[in-house]
């Protein structure tokens, strides 16, 4: 995995002390975050077992109660906790949204084997991966607009954007992209925009098995490719012109 992923991990929030007792990570305060990706060792789980139990139970109540405190309280009750125990989640209903995003991203990483680098196949792989991730929203899609509202709340926005960035990074990694030039950034930003718009489109999609979302996604990806090749073309052209200019000036005796 590319070095930028590592940097991103570095910039993100250090793991909570909750996990410092896990076998993998020695308790070392702030410096506990792992700054690299290991194929041999799993990352420590992002949620403690208690959080995991309450939030997964809460998520199962989302189709009926939506992303609300009610769902969270029901989750706590189902996990054998008290109503007041929802104080474990100061972010309230947003915790359920975040839980869904994180667990689904990790599930994607766990279930899909990273593709080998093959530039021809990358667009198809990306398409498949985005669809796979979108289909994970199926069960709660009728409530997803509530989640989007919570995600767009100004105080939650940094968390939401980071999660989106992590997801697009995950998708590109799994699709076999190994670019490390400035394309790394544009790829991820572009993919994040496409994913977010497809997700929004899906909330109003009533077609059978979300066919319209699939078509929408295919169109956006195609446009993305076009923009990419256009920008790439302009870049190449500008490079050649600049080279020519330098050569021309040198032939006139300018010391460049």
């Amino acid at each position: 995995m590319s070095i930028f992923r590592l940097l991103q991990a570095t910039c993100s929030k250090p793991p909570s002390r909750l996990y410092s007792s896990s076998n993998f990570v020695p308790s070392c305060g702030l410096s506990c975050g792992r700054f690299y990706h290991s194929y041999e060792h799993d990352r420590p789980p992002p949620f403690s077992p208690t959080e995991d139990r309450i939030l997964s139970a809460a998520l199962s109540h989302v189709p009926t109660h939506g992303f609300t405190t009610t769902a969270l309280t029901q989750g706590a009750r189902a996990a054998g906790y008290l109503d007041i125990s929802t104080n474990l989640f100061p972010a309230g209903p947003f915790s359920i949204v975040n839980y869904h995003l994180v667990t689904q991203r990790l599930a994607l990483a766990k279930d899909v084997t990273p593709a080998r680098h093959d530039p021809i196949k990358i667009p198809t792989n990306i398409n498949k991966l985005i669809l796979r991730r979108l289909h994970a929203n199926k069960a709660i899609i009728h409530r997803w607009q509530e989640a989007l509202a919570l995600l767009a709340t100004p105080t939650r926005l940094p968390t939401s954007l980071r999660e989106l960035a992590l997801l697009s990074d995950e998708i590109l990694f799994l699709a076999g992209s190994t670019d490390v030039t400035s394309v790394w950034y544009t790829n991820r930003a572009g993919l994040a925009v496409i994913y977010a718009s497809a997700e929004l489109f899906m909330t109003t999609d009533t077609s059978e098995n979300f066919v319209e979302t699939e078509e929408f996604l295919a169109r956006r990806l195609e446009e993305g490719e076009k923009i990419k090749s256009f920008v790439g073309g302009v870049g190449t052209w500008a490079g050649i012109q600049a080279g020519g200019f330098v050569d021309g000036m040198r032939s006139k005796g300018v010391r460049i």
Partner: protein, 317 residues
């Protein structure tokens, strides 16, 4: 082979003599000092910036609060520029006490909560807890037990409760108790344990935390609102100026008691930082809220002047 030459013998003798003259080498100084300090700590605790015998702290804190009880509210308003009311409101609202029975009644669920408000003599938090449970969650049965070590503060609270709707209600009761020894409260009987601006004055904070863990039901919540450390250096400078310059002066002018308020600001200064205190809460066995946007385990109010710490007693283990 070495022979005991006069030179060697004398060298050995000198070394021995020197060893007797110097009972320890300089290298071990720090170790010795550390030991002495530890021995001292066992007997004394801090009272503001002073070190006092642990047995004495309780009575001295008692004296402070007996003397400030009557002017407690006015002083709080003046010292915190009325913000303590905002903090307390936020504290109670974020805890969301009470059970919202009307929304989803289910047969096996308890319909009321028992809340223990420690060091809540004047009832500040207790009245807020009750009114939140009643008006927000439509819960008319949850009870609050107010506990304070100081009878003067409790008397002040009882007096103030006469002006509220809870005056003769069964939902409010008063207990005079030391938070380090709550033998009159059953184990696993409390849903929510709150302590606002109190834990700083406890002689043994760890003992109080362990006692909190004992009385709480599994899944119960420990919540603490306390002055803490300000992170922003500029704000910190202004805050320290205010607390060490203005607060004892206000105390002298309004309450006629400078020493008590000097103790107050010193005890704030001596209270552990957010991180340390969160560590103590965790050590007592509580689960800390992971918090995605917070620093995990606590919430800073106004840049860290005050902080809310929360811990949940796990159901297993």
């Amino acid at each position: 082979m070495s022979f005991p030459t006069p030179w060697r013998t004398s060298a050995r003798l000198t070394r021995r003599l020197l060893a007797i003259k110097q009972p320890y080498r300089c290298l071990s100084c720090s170790l010795r000092l550390a030991r002495e300090e530890a021995r001292q700590d066992a007997k004394t605790t801090h009272f503001g910036f002073e070190s006092v015998p642990a047995a004495e702290k309780q009575s001295r804190v008692g004296a402070v609060f007996s003397s400030v009880a009557s002017s407690y509210d006015t002083m709080n308003d003046l010292m915190s520029l009325y913000t303590h009311r905002l903090w307390k409101d936020h504290f109670v609202r974020s805890l969301n006490p009470g059970i919202h029975t009307s929304l989803f009644p289910s047969p096996n669920q308890p319909t009321s909560q028992t809340i223990l408000d420690i060091a809540g003599g004047t009832g500040d938090i207790a009245f807020r807890l009750l009114s939140h449970a009643t008006t927000v969650n439509n819960d008319h049965s949850s009870r609050v037990i107010v506990s304070d070590i100081n009878p003067a503060m409790l008397a002040e609270g009882k007096k103030r409760s006469l002006q509220t709707e809870w005056a003769s209600s069964e939902r409010l009761s008063w207990v005079e108790a030391n938070a380090e020894d709550l033998h009159m409260i059953d184990s696993n009987s409390i849903d929510l344990y709150t302590v606002a601006f109190g834990i700083r004055n406890f002689t043994d904070k760890m003992a109080a935390l362990r006692e909190a863990y004992r009385v709480l039901k599994p899944g119960g919540v420990f919540a603490c609102l306390e002055f803490s450390k300000v992170h922003n250096p500029i704000l910190n400078g202004a805050y320290k100026r205010w607390s060490f310059g203005a607060i004892p002066l206000i105390g002298q002018l309004v309450a006629g008691d400078r020493e008590s308020y000097q103790y107050l600001v010193e005890s704030i200064e001596r209270f552990p930082s957010q991180r340390e205190f969160a560590g103590m809460v965790e050590e007592a066995g509580f689960l800390l809220p992971g918090g995605m946007e917070e620093e995990g385990g606590w919430e800073d109010l106004m840049g860290g002047i005050a902080a809310v710490h929360r811990g949940i007693k796990p159901t297993e283990g």
